[in-house]
């Protein structure tokens, strides 16, 4: 049987989150920091979907593989999936706003190095 499905998903998601944290902490380029945020986002989505998995469950869509009468017994939890659809859209929005701020910052200083932006440091 090997590893349980949710375990594999959790490991993948948390690894992506760690890579994203590394991208934010260790790099000084704003674009790399934005990429780190996106990786954390994706990792959290995978972790959320993993928590909805029920052993042996199938997708919550009623068809030949899942009868209406047994839906509650054989399907995975649909609530995390519905939440993640929302979260993906919000993640896209945040990334778009961050990238447009990066463009404006580049216009102001002609560099994307975050150490050049010292005005808001205290």
């Amino acid at each position: 049987m090997g590893l349980p499905v949710s375990q594999i998903l959790l490991v993948t998601g948390f690894l992506l989150i760690l890579i994203g944290f590394w991208g934010i902490f260790a790099h000084r380029n704003i674009l790399r920091i934005v990429i780190g945020f996106s990786l954390i986002d994706t990792g959290i989505h995978i972790v959320m979907v993993a928590t909805g998995y029920v052993t042996g469950g199938t997708a919550p869509i009623i068809d030949a593989a899942l009868e209406k009468a047994h839906a509650a017994a054989n399907a995975v939890d649909p609530v995390p999936s519905a939440l993640v659809v929302t979260a993906i859209v919000i993640g896209f929005s945040v990334t778009a706003i961050m990238l447009s701020f990066a463009i404006r910052l580049y216009d102001a200083k002609k560099t994307l190095d975050i150490d050049a932006f010292t005005e808001s440091k205290w």
Binding site: F21, Y53, V79, A82
Partner: protein, 227 residues
């Protein structure tokens, strides 16, 4: 020095996550809420896809808010990137797209748009829905921009389309108050035969409106980054 702090922080997060992973026990049963959704969505809404039923009817207000967030993002990206549109021509410098990209786009672009429309309209029957299909359509628009950088999106048409879709979406919600159980209730249209294309009340209609709106908004956001 900074780097060692970064390594330390990542390692500490790693320890926390390792504890979470090893302590996690895979669920054997679903929660009562999920059980309610899994039995009520096919029975009451007539939609085979439970996730779409949750998104469009039970959490319809949430979805409306999400569309509002997307609208605000399109607007604020426009504000943030606006002031430099005057000075530079769209294709100043840069390489021409290769023949591979141009020819490939001609072949594959209609298929991408068709697939997007299919995903939008089959959201209540199978995996898919307005958001997913809209994203597929927007990715097609992105390919179009890569293949022919000179092409212009008609912003006026797109904003009229998405505003119209939004107005109709809210009107359907208000009709739900008048004719059915509440705001965005999908029972204003007959449920139809379970599993057929025209079924599940207003869900396919709302899904199509969402797809149009999301596709138009994402295309505008992508287009703003081009200049």
């Amino acid at each position: 020095m900074k780097r060692s702090f970064a390594i330390l922080a990542v390692i500490m997060f790693g320890v926390i996550f390792f504890g979470l992973i090893t302590g996690y026990i895979e669920r054997q049963t679903i929660s009562p809420l999920a059980e309610y959704y899994l039995t009520q969505v096919p029975r009451e809404l007539g939609a085979p896809n439970v996730v779409t039923g949750i998104l469009i009817t039970y959490r319809g207000f949430d979805t409306l808010g999400e569309v509002a967030v997307l609208f605000m993002v399109a607007a604020s990206v426009g504000v943030l990137l606006k002031s430099k549109t005057g000075q530079d021509a769209p294709s100043a410098g840069g390489r021409e797209p290769s023949e591979l990209v141009r020819t490939g786009a001609e072949v594959i672009l209609p298929l991408i748009f068709l697939f997007g429309a299919y995903v939008i309209m089959n959201g209540h029957l199978s995996a898919g829905g307005g958001f997913q299909g809209g994203a597929v359509v927007a990715s097609g628009v992105m390919l179009l921009m890569l293949a022919s950088p000179a092409s212009q999106l008609h912003h006026g048409f797109l904003s009229v389309t998405e505003s119209l879709a939004g107005v109709i979406y809210v009107s359907i919600g208000v009709l739900g108050i008048v004719f059915a159980g509440g705001f965005l209730d999908s029972h204003i249209l007959p449920l139809g035969k379970f599993g057929t294309f025209l079924s599940a009340g207003a869900i396919p209609l709302v899904s199509a409106l969402l797809g149009i709106k999301v596709g138009a908004e994402l295309s505008v956001v992508i287009d703003r980054f081009r200049s």
